[in-house]
Symmetry: C2
Subunit: 190 residues, 2 copies
DNA sequence: CGCGACGTTGATTTGCCTCAACGATTGTGG
DNA sequence: CCACAATCGTTGAGGCAAATCAACGTCGCG
């Protein structure tokens, strides 16, 4: 549940819990439905309760690049757009039937004022995301596609079998064709 | 000055300013001197007052990968190590004579308790870093080396002439040899 | 001066991409 | 419930961006 997730980093009393949950808006997103489209202004942060979302952008040649997967228990948003208030380039789409809680930017600001502990909570969440993002950047600079794939398997063991290969390929940064070859090479080795 | 930088995101009264500055430790780092070595536990965040630092890691083949430059006005740390308390893989080195203020992890926690506004400040700083890190990841997935170089030039115009080419090559993710060729191609074009 | 780091250039190799063709699977409307 | 389209995964042939390895000139600096 979402309060458990928050509870890992800050301690809330009953009133604070109630305030927090009262600001959340429940939403069900069907498979392949978009929660956010490129060009829109991102006005909320989404907590994935069940299912899985992906955040991706399209480059000038029409290719997708998946920036992040958000399985159950994770937050996702187009942070650039959320912070700047400008239209973003990110799409957020459900890779399966997904339930989320939305926290609007306005309510998030309210929360910061009324329960400053939430500044701490989101600082910690953001720090962890930054560490992960830097590590992934480093992996892209120093590992081969094969090594990145193996790492992906250890980080998201549950996603491997429920996700089309195409999307894993996009995440690790290779074409679906190359990904297919790479995978059959790995299978042959073992 | 460092208080101007903080003042862009939060408003402090005189006592708070004094508390904050009293926790900072001034340090001068000479060219090529290390502020942090791979394998050490990172116990502080550093604010660059003058000069420039770089954060980099070495891969298993002995190649450097520059994760970030920190010119004047920027913060730098091995966030992974700082958060987890474990030894990190990052090196932080001065690319020229540099003056920094160090804020120890312990004092940073003190600051969070005594002046909760600093939670907000570091949340915002971290959010901005995350946006930048994600954008760079995206650039590495979707742009050619040449495009990344041109982008680097617009983002760090001042660094281009004061940094060895080797280091720019490392930042954008190519070998020094390829970088040299690429640059002479660009010059020929114009 | 002489050493070590840097930048350049050439020849060759390689990891990954592109384009194209083809089955297998999934989904959809009639 | 079937027919057909769309998407997905696989495989082959060929191409290109960038890496590798090596040689050489240059510069800053102890």
């Amino acid at each position: 549940m979402i309060l458990d997730s928050v509870g890992k980093h800050i301690t809330l009393d009953e009133n604070e819990k109630e305030l927090f949950t009262s600001l959340l808006q429940y939403k069900k997103i069907r498979h392949r439905q978009y929660l956010l489209n490129e060009g829109e202004i991102c006005l909320w942060s989404a907590f994935v309760f069940k299912g899985c979302l992906k955040g991706f952008t399209m480059d000038k040649n029409g290719f997708d690049h998946i920036l992040s997967f958000a399985p159950a228990g994770w937050w996702i948003a187009d942070l650039y757009s959320l912070i700047s208030g400008k239209p973003g380039k990110m799409n957020i789409e459900a890779v399966e039937e997904t339930d989320v809680f939305l926290l609007s930017k306005k309510d998030q600001e309210t929360l910061y004022v009324r329960v400053p502990k939430f500044e701490r909570f989101f600082r910690i969440i953001t720090e962890n995301s930054l560490v992960a993002s830097q590590q992934r950047l480093l992996d892209n600079l120093s590992l081969t596609a094969e090594e990145r794939y193996l790492k992906f398997c250890t980080i998201y063991p549950t996603l491997i079998n429920q996700l089309p290969q195409k999307q894993i390929a996009s995440y690790i940064g290779v074409t679906p064709e190359f990904f297919s070859r790479m995978r059959s090479n790995l299978l042959r080795k073992k």
